[in-house]
């Protein structure tokens, strides 16, 4: 039996290269198509946000009004960008950690195309007025079985790879990836059956819809982001995880607490009280495993501030972890019953969703993409300026959204709604500056991600830098560094051979 510690370095490097080559096409497809959907989602988000404070924006076209563009924006963000980025990171990371090159890249690529087709048809369905009207589940009802089948074909090979792994140790990232792979079909299938198929009471369908959104965030997006952050923090800083026991404890805490979160969105509705209370309590308590994982990852990279500043992967991943801590804080604040009274029917819920999907998950995914793509394409990123623009504009945009939507705007709107001495329209007028701020924030994010998509597409076309030195955000490498003298990566390898 061979363990990882006994494998010579050259053989290990060759195996990593084999893994990267085997998964090049599906991984690059997921990342590039995901980035394209992210750009589409941001455009739709800007239109929806502008329509909320300026309905005459882009004229009176029926298919561009808020009721269609907003659901299209959210669903493309979640299923077009979020899910595909998750798939790309999941299949690559699991293959790397299991030391197993993929034998099913073609099957995964076909399933990825089917997923994209489903998302495209679903988006067209929403914009043509055939959405279901259920938040985060607005694709027409015939789309979800297609997406679930595509997911099964994509994810099953990672499960097989884990089962047949070539390592004796189970890395913490593998725990989280395995959890996400197994939780997604449970969440997606159960929610869609009860909301879209079975004839159940509409109130319970609404409660299950609220549960679905939180479960998708905490049991699919969060585990994959945490898995990626653990890997990047450890790999780029060159250190072991700060405390493996804390990391496993954090995983199980997330697994136990997170499935209960979500039904506090129906507070005050005639559904059983315990559902509302348990949902609120679980959303607050899920901060514990998130904070545990966050501290563990930050401690792993602590003392390596220069590395965090230079490495795009580590910088984005640490920013994503900070976003995760903000999400934990936001969960505690917004799910508290005293706050729910003010924030339940306001933009605070939207701000929470965006903080989760973009501020936390997407930042971790960007970190992973900046790490994975050069290894898969054997080319380095073209421009550190584009990477810095992507980073800072994303930070500005997410902070705007967190401040305007989640904190200030949500509570202001809720307080004005609660004030029965003034007319309802006053609450709407109070919210106007925050909706304008939201539109500005989305513009920042679109600017950031438009260039990210261009950069990624150029890498996909293998037009990146042919260099053995990674693209860093600060100073140039020296020939005495760990990467050796800089040169064309293929020529250097030919010289070694």
């Amino acid at each position: 039996m061979s363990t990882q510690s006994q494998v010579p370095f050259i053989e290990d490097a060759q195996m990593r290269s084999d893994i990267d080559r085997s998964l090049r096409h599906p991984v690059m497809f997921f990342f590039t198509s995901g980035a394209a959907w992210l750009a589409v989602s941001l455009v739709l988000g800007i239109i929806a946000s502008a329509k909320s404070h300026n309905p005459a924006f882009l004229g009176e076209s029926g298919w561009l009004h808020y009721g269609l563009t907003f659901p299209a924006h959210i669903n493309t963000l979640v299923y077009g960008w979020g899910a595909q980025a998750a798939f790309g990171v999941m299949i690559w990371l699991m293959a790397r950690l299991c030391r197993q090159p993929s034998r099913n890249a073609g099957t995964i690529l076909v399933a990825g195309h089917i997923w994209n087709l489903g998302v495209a048809i679903g988006t067209i369905g929403i914009l043509s007025g055939h959405g279901t009207g259920k938040h985060w589940m607005q694709f027409p009802t015939f789309v979800w079985p297609v997406l679930l089948a595509a997911y099964a074909v994509i994810a099953i090979w990672s499960l097989v790879a884990f089962r047949c792994r070539n390592t004796d140790h189970t890395y913490i990232s593998q725990w989280y990836l395995l959890g996400a792979i197994l939780w997604f079909p449970w969440i997606y299938l159960t929610a869609n059956l009860y909301v879209n198929v079975f004839d159940i009471h509409p109130l319970m369908a609404a409660a299950i819809n609220g549960w679905f959104r939180h479960a998708l965030i905490f049991l699919f997006f969060a585990p994959i982001a945490i898995a990626s952050a653990y890997y990047i923090a450890s790999k780029v800083s060159g250190r072991a995880i700060y405390n493996y026991s804390y990391s496993v404890g954090g995983f199980w805490a997330l697994a136990i607490v997170a499935p209960w979160a979500g039904m506090q969105v129906m507070t005050g509705a005639p559904i059983p009280m315990f559902l509302q209370s348990v949902g609120a309590a679980a959303t607050m308590l899920v901060g514990v495993p998130l904070i545990a994982a966050g501290i563990n990852i930050i401690k792993t990279a602590s003392g390596k501030q220069e590395t965090v500043a230079y490495s795009p992967s580590l910088r984005f991943s640490i920013a994503g972890v900070v976003g995760m801590l903000l999400l934990a804080f936001a969960g505690v604040v917004l799910a508290h019953p005293a706050s729910l009274k003010f924030t339940q029917f306001t933009m605070a819920g939207y701000g929470f969703d965006v903080l989760a999907v973009y501020g936390f998950f997407s930042m971790c995914m960007f970190g992973a993409i900046y790490f994975i793509v050069p290894r898969v394409t054997r080319r380095e990123w073209l421009s550190r300026r584009l990477i810095r623009t992507h980073f800072w504009c994303s930070i500005y945009g997410v902070l705007f959204i967190f401040l305007f939507c989640t904190l200030l705007g949500g509570f202001q709107q809720g307080a004005a709604q609660e004030d029965h001495t003034q007319p309802w329209v006053q609450a709407v007028k109070n919210t106007l500056p925050y909706t304008v701020g939201m539109t500005v924030a989305w513009c920042f994010l679109l600017y950031a991600n438009f260039f990210f998509f261009i950069h990624l597409a150029l890498m996909w076309l293998r037009l990146g830098r042919r260099s053995s030195h990674p693209t860093l955000l600060r100073r140039e490498h020296s020939a005495l560094g760990p990467h050796g003298p800089e040169g064309d990566v293929d020529e250097l390898e030919a010289a070694k051979a």
Binding site: E11, Q14, C164, N166, F198, I200
Partner: protein
């Protein structure tokens, strides 16, 4: 691609098992959901249950109302007969009109006492009108004179019928309307 080091876990059987067990797991929650949904029965929706309960209540109230009102509903031809006997706007009171004035007797109680005996009223209603010889016969003494007179006249004319008016009809047909007024006044005055 280089020759990988030996991996004892990577066998065709293990891959096959992992693949099919994985797919089975993915579909498991759907199967469980369907089983739970079907096992809980195709019960009617809450709206249907509430609607049927509400309809039952409405039907019950309507039936009860029908039962209470059925004995009291006036037939159209009887309404017409009653309207014919209603006091007219003319200043001259009709001698056969029902005297419903609250003030003043409508007949002579002394004559009424004699007529009560001679017309055989005491046979069914007793010597003083309050001792009926059978429980189903009404007590007459002390009731308002105009009411008693109207009732007798309605039985006589056929405007009022009941299960017992056929027994009264032959007797009351022998009594004129003026005599009815006297009898009614005697009964209203306490049958003394």
């Amino acid at each position: 691609m280089s020759t990988p080091s030996y991996n004892h876990r990577d066998t065709p059987l293990r891959r096959f098992n992992a693949f099919w067990w994985g797919l089975a797991y993915f579909g498991l929650f759907g199967l469980v959901s369907v089983v739970i949904y079907c096992w809980s029965g195709s019960s009617p929706s809450v709206e249907e249950i509430l609607t049927s309960e509400h309809q039952e209540t409405v039907d019950g109230v309507a039936a009860k109302q029908q039962e209470i009102l059925s004995g009291k509903q006036l037939q159209p031809e009887k309404i017409g007969a009653m309207l014919q006997k209603a006091p007219s706007a003319s200043a001259v009171p009709h001698p056969s009109a029902t005297a419903t004035t609250a003030a003043g007797p409508i007949g002579d109680p002394l004559k009424g006492k004699e007529l009560y005996k001679s017309k055989n009223c005491m046979i069914c209603h007793g010597p003083d009108g309050n001792s009926p010889t059978a429980p189903m016969y009404p007590k007459l003494g002390g009731k308002e004179a105009s009411y008693l007179a109207k009732k007798m006249k309605d039985i006589k004319s056929g405007a009022y019928t009941s299960a017992f008016t056929p027994m009264m009809k032959p007797t009351i047909d022998q009594v004129s309307e003026e005599e009815i007024d006297h009898i009614a006044q005697w009964l209203a005055d306490g049958s003394k």
